[in-house]
Symmetry: C5
Subunit: 363 residues, 5 copies
Amino acid sequence: IGCKKEQQQAGGRGWLVVDSEGQGTILDVDKHGIMHRFNIHARDFRVLDPHLSYPSAILVRDSAIILNLEHIKAIVTADEVLLRDPSDENVIPVVEELKRRLHNDDIGDDDNDESPFEFRALEVTLEAVCSFLGARTTELENAAYPALDELTLKVTSRNLDQVRKLKSAMTRLTTRVQKVRDEIEQLLDDDDDLADLCLSRKIATPPHSPSSRSIATNRRWNSPTSGSKTIKASKASVMGIHGEENGVEELEMLLEAYFSQIEGTLNKLTTLREYIDDTEDYINIQIDNRRNQLIQLELFLNSGMLAMSIYALVTAIFGMNIPYTWNHDYGYMFKWVIIVAGLSTLALFVTLMSYARFKGLVG
Amino acid sequence: IGCKKEQQQAGGRGWLVVDSEGQGTILDVDKHGIMHRFNIHARDFRVLDPHLSYPSAILVRDSAIILNLEHIKAIVTADEVLLRDPSDENVIPVVEELKRRLHNDDIGDDDNDESPFEFRALEVTLEAVCSFLGARTTELENAAYPALDELTLKVTSRNLDQVRKLKSAMTRLTTRVQKVRDEIEQLLDDDDDLADLCLSRKIATPPHSPSSRSIATNRRWNSPTSGSKTIKASKASVMGIHGEENGVEELEMLLEAYFSQIEGTLNKLTTLREYIDDTEDYINIQIDNRRNQLIQLELFLNSGMLAMSIYALVTAIFGMNIPYTWNHDYGYMFKWVIIVAGLSTLALFVTLMSYARFKGLVG
Amino acid sequence: IGCKKEQQQAGGRGWLVVDSEGQGTILDVDKHGIMHRFNIHARDFRVLDPHLSYPSAILVRDSAIILNLEHIKAIVTADEVLLRDPSDENVIPVVEELKRRLHNDDIGDDDNDESPFEFRALEVTLEAVCSFLGARTTELENAAYPALDELTLKVTSRNLDQVRKLKSAMTRLTTRVQKVRDEIEQLLDDDDDLADLCLSRKIATPPHSPSSRSIATNRRWNSPTSGSKTIKASKASVMGIHGEENGVEELEMLLEAYFSQIEGTLNKLTTLREYIDDTEDYINIQIDNRRNQLIQLELFLNSGMLAMSIYALVTAIFGMNIPYTWNHDYGYMFKWVIIVAGLSTLALFVTLMSYARFKGLVG
Amino acid sequence: IGCKKEQQQAGGRGWLVVDSEGQGTILDVDKHGIMHRFNIHARDFRVLDPHLSYPSAILVRDSAIILNLEHIKAIVTADEVLLRDPSDENVIPVVEELKRRLHNDDIGDDDNDESPFEFRALEVTLEAVCSFLGARTTELENAAYPALDELTLKVTSRNLDQVRKLKSAMTRLTTRVQKVRDEIEQLLDDDDDLADLCLSRKIATPPHSPSSRSIATNRRWNSPTSGSKTIKASKASVMGIHGEENGVEELEMLLEAYFSQIEGTLNKLTTLREYIDDTEDYINIQIDNRRNQLIQLELFLNSGMLAMSIYALVTAIFGMNIPYTWNHDYGYMFKWVIIVAGLSTLALFVTLMSYARFKGLVG
Amino acid sequence: IGCKKEQQQAGGRGWLVVDSEGQGTILDVDKHGIMHRFNIHARDFRVLDPHLSYPSAILVRDSAIILNLEHIKAIVTADEVLLRDPSDENVIPVVEELKRRLHNDDIGDDDNDESPFEFRALEVTLEAVCSFLGARTTELENAAYPALDELTLKVTSRNLDQVRKLKSAMTRLTTRVQKVRDEIEQLLDDDDDLADLCLSRKIATPPHSPSSRSIATNRRWNSPTSGSKTIKASKASVMGIHGEENGVEELEMLLEAYFSQIEGTLNKLTTLREYIDDTEDYINIQIDNRRNQLIQLELFLNSGMLAMSIYALVTAIFGMNIPYTWNHDYGYMFKWVIIVAGLSTLALFVTLMSYARFKGLVG
């Protein structure tokens, strides 16, 4: 578990090694070979298993960083990057960028070529993941906002189902973005982990001071001889030798920048979620309000029908085949029956409508 | 309460002891015997009582770790594991795995056989609990997603009841997973507890330095003679003797790996919960929307009926047995009454429908 | 405000003093007497006032712990416990238990008789409060689950009102349990408060070192002469003299055990709350769905009525007292009118129903 | 910005100064005069501006505490309290209490007269604010609970509007209480701010040690000569001279007591909020359930009407003026038509009702 | 990355430089020129890109502060401020204020002219951002409260849509205010960042002590020779030389004042959000309640129609052209049929209404 790095030659299936020259080699070793070569525990290796669908994680181990960031599953050591599924459609550009950036080391024309190997590897993967998630978020936004506006105009089963699918997709994407953000934040909050991420320095130290091997492993338990001061001194001496360029400071700045980017992505998703929720509230109120209007119209129709049925009742009474005495003084009888019944009916209808209006039930 | 461990031979009902040889023995002692033998306080022992249904807990005591993780209720010391209800269906594989892993110690062919006894015991129980909860979550997912999709297609009382039962099950499972996750997180956050978990080291120290007995008990109150520096030195000396293999570092990595696994399980449950909530929102809007469509159709029917009733009224008027003067210039009268009444009725119906469409009430 | 404890004899109304012999004495002093005797500030004493209904609180003061835990309102010093309203129905068993446990000190047959006086008093009150809240929770659960299941089967005003009352009770109980839990957690999180809780040690120290009186009062402001190191040394010396039995460690374990218990109670209430919420969602969807079914049936009836009214219209037309020419070629006329009108009506009804089914409006 | 306090005589509009003799003087200086006299920055002075409606805030500055607690806007220094709008109805009792308590200093008969000037001023304002908010909360509770119970009995627009207004008031009050609570909590959590609140001690120090002026201003930046140890020593020396009576300990206890009180107020508001929410849920379900019952009754009526209309159709058929052959074998014909049609109609009605009951649509 | 500041003359597009004389110069350099001149990493520069729409951020770098606060995108160094898009309508007043305040330095008549250059620049931008967000919030409030009250009076599609748009605007504004608030809070919580913000001091130090260059970069990794004490001493010496005027203390007070202001803005938005939510709940209940009243009126109409249809049925029976025996004892027959049928119908109607009232369905 110590800081030693076994330099055994081994291989694996579906793994690509990119070394500090920017050269990529396909590994032809099985799982146990990789675990042995990179000194990874079986527990930690499981995190990279695509079948177990672990959430995104950045595990800092003694001589390696294990990255499971969305589609990028990698093991980063001080001079090699091991990448799973290099032929995956989304991983290919990451491989290209890794080769370019890790190779740049020798030429030294860029402005951040002085960074240690593992920082550059970490930056490439973080940039790839942040861009990937940002692109997914933008795609989702482009699909969701029109769908929501369409739903506002007209509620149909098809529109509803589409919005529901987009909402599910948004929830899943938010969980993934949140997880990556949390992993970066956790690193930023824990100075010990930040220090452990500087793999190069941990390796570079042994020749200078034999006791400094305990820096990495004795994170919380200080070294035997001198207590905390010695540790600080030896840490400081490392810095004095290697300069500030591979310090924790630079790593913190690097993580802060990508944290800000992923935070922006998360903000967009949160805004989208609130927009969806607001739209749903709006649709609910609109559907409810329209229903009231429908029922108001129905009330109008029903009032009309009640008035009609009273009129019809009057005519039906006179349609009975029972003879009655005042049947024969006709001439004015027919007109009066029609007019009186009609006026009464109208009065009833107007009364009903006025009552509803008085009660505030119709607009 | 000290670090001493009484090595009395005793027994208990429903308890199995697995020792460092991987041998399992049924204990035949009562509750007080166990509490005395393992130096457990009555307060802490209550946590293991299956009738009190305490939530999951990992209590770190001076000479023992008390584990109440779902179905696994165990007391782990530096050289023994005491397991409750070993004949329980879910506990049997844990017993098998415990015997295998704790026995492996002597052979030494595996890659983590150098871990102290209590770490291996802890790993076996954590692995069992995480797998158990993961399996329950997967079962729930397999039942819930089809049920939700079915509910989306057709809302019936049976489907609703099924989803409600699944939601209840999910809530209960989430609480349990959350509790296990919180316990692991709490251990990871508290360096003192992590240090206390290393039982072997605490036992191994006394012969070397008499004063170091205070490491475990004086967690926050430093030792009498020299203040904080001495403590650190003596802690460090422990480490210098036993090497890094039983350090806090290894324990932290172990817990981190299972924390990541249980976090993944919790993520799945959270996603499921949001999917259920979204589906309910969707169903609510769909039911509401369908109701509006039903009422629209009813409005159509009512408008038709109103038109009919007006037509019927006209015919009823002419059906009255009251004689009227313009009764006898027939021939064209009948046709005109039918046609005029029919057209007026149709006009009324069309007017009503146009009004509703103009108001945006019908599609 | 110092550590001195005035041993004046005084009395109060409605207060019971239990001393370290387990003897209970009714105090006959007024409020100011108690405040003076136990050196309590008026601000802090108000917390115990039953009329002001303060939430649960554990205030750690120099020479006393002020406990306001639900019905138990007490002041605990290093050798006395002052209990408010000792004749309250819920407080009587607490008094009995206090007398038993505080008396046990002399006999020394139990397993935790070596604890300091104030720890035993604290444990008795915590146990009483946790059991009390646990019992209330179980009562609530026993009432709520059947009421909810009944509500699921049939929604009546009576059932709704009962569930609403249970929900209110649950909310209030949750607030109380949460408050007790928060108080215990806050103590566990603050090492200074934990140290201040060890009243006996603070009192026992003065004879040994005159400067150590500042330990309790100068919690954050270190002593004049030597800075932080001296403090630590003097603290350590206290421990060296009194041993580990009254250390912070034991207190932390005590609080942890009851924290776990109250956490379990809170978990039950949270699960209950979620069950109620889920049931409400379910009932809402079910009510909505049943309404749609009702409206579907109504639609069926309305369609039937529309068909009927058309048929009736046809017959009414022929019922008019207006003569028409094709009145006399009877024999087949009557049958044809009935059959054609009946078939048209049936066709209309079938068309309406098919339309509704095609639109997905009826099942 | 230093600790010096300019003793210039100046005046202001609408400000009252209460000095350590309990004497109140109306200040007749403008804004800039006050800022200059009390050494307050323009940024901080803005907090007291009633037109800008800042939320409650307690700003700790070098030589003054700026209090903006609800209606009380004050500047507290080591020997003066400056109060805005002393003629405000709510502020008058605060002025009286301030004069009484600040004057008490000389007499020394009360139990907390040994507190420094600024502590007593702070306690008076905190007590006034907590009582004020507590009284507002009680008023709200007294109005809200009856209104909610009335709403439960009968949902009217007037009741609804009243509850809505109470809910708005509650939300605003909760925000204000929460803000005061947060300010107190923040002070309690930050030991530096607590130390800075002890204005008297900061002023009293200079004559003893010239370097200790840096205590207040160099909160996080230690003094030049000796690093952290010297600071602690000089802080301690201050305490050794002035005793414990003006220590941070006392201030913490003071704040804790009012924190507990305002926490109780917040608890009441939270309980009220949950009660309102539960009542709304209950009303929603009740309205929905009542609607279903209304529709069930309507369904009953519609079924009846359908049956009637079929009966009416039969009679209408026989009312047509079309002659039919079996018209003349009367005597039994009329009875049979009525009886058969009536029974068929009844059968139809019973069938419809049974179907609805079978489907669970009517109770 | 060191503290050196390259004083190369260069230019940029759309950038304005304000120097310590208050003079503004348009820069005519491209992106890389600016990055090189101000020693900014490409990662960090991206934060200022208006096309990437990053959320608000304050990044503290070695020799510059990168501000992305809403519309103000600036780089602040110890003697220059670089402002993006100086011709933007919202940025122009910021430029004016910057020139005024940064120029004031030489005259020295104001009360805070002794602040270091970067503090004044930071204060101007914070004031501009807080005022800008406060103004947007006030605008929103002025639009939202009348719209909500109008919606309460009458629910129309237009009102609903307006409220929905305001709610969306509020959500977006809240996210922005929250982000600015979080950035300020994060600075206040992190003493290291606060110290790094004092750019002037970091620059001023080198001539005095060569080793102090490590203060800024070695934030967490102490300097090689002497451990933490030396650092503190050197920090202290800086302060001893430059006095308290550019200390962390002043910066903290500055940030606290604007934090309080932006907190007030956020409070207003939160209150608005709750008001909107409460109004929506109220409208939902009101719509639901009105619907029940509509259905109650409909029930009344339907009951009337059922009664009418029974009456009509009776008359229709007597309208059949089937002869019946008791047809000829007329005179009283007609009256009795009308009266009996009318009374029965009325009785039925009254029974129905009483039943509904008994069931609590109509008011």
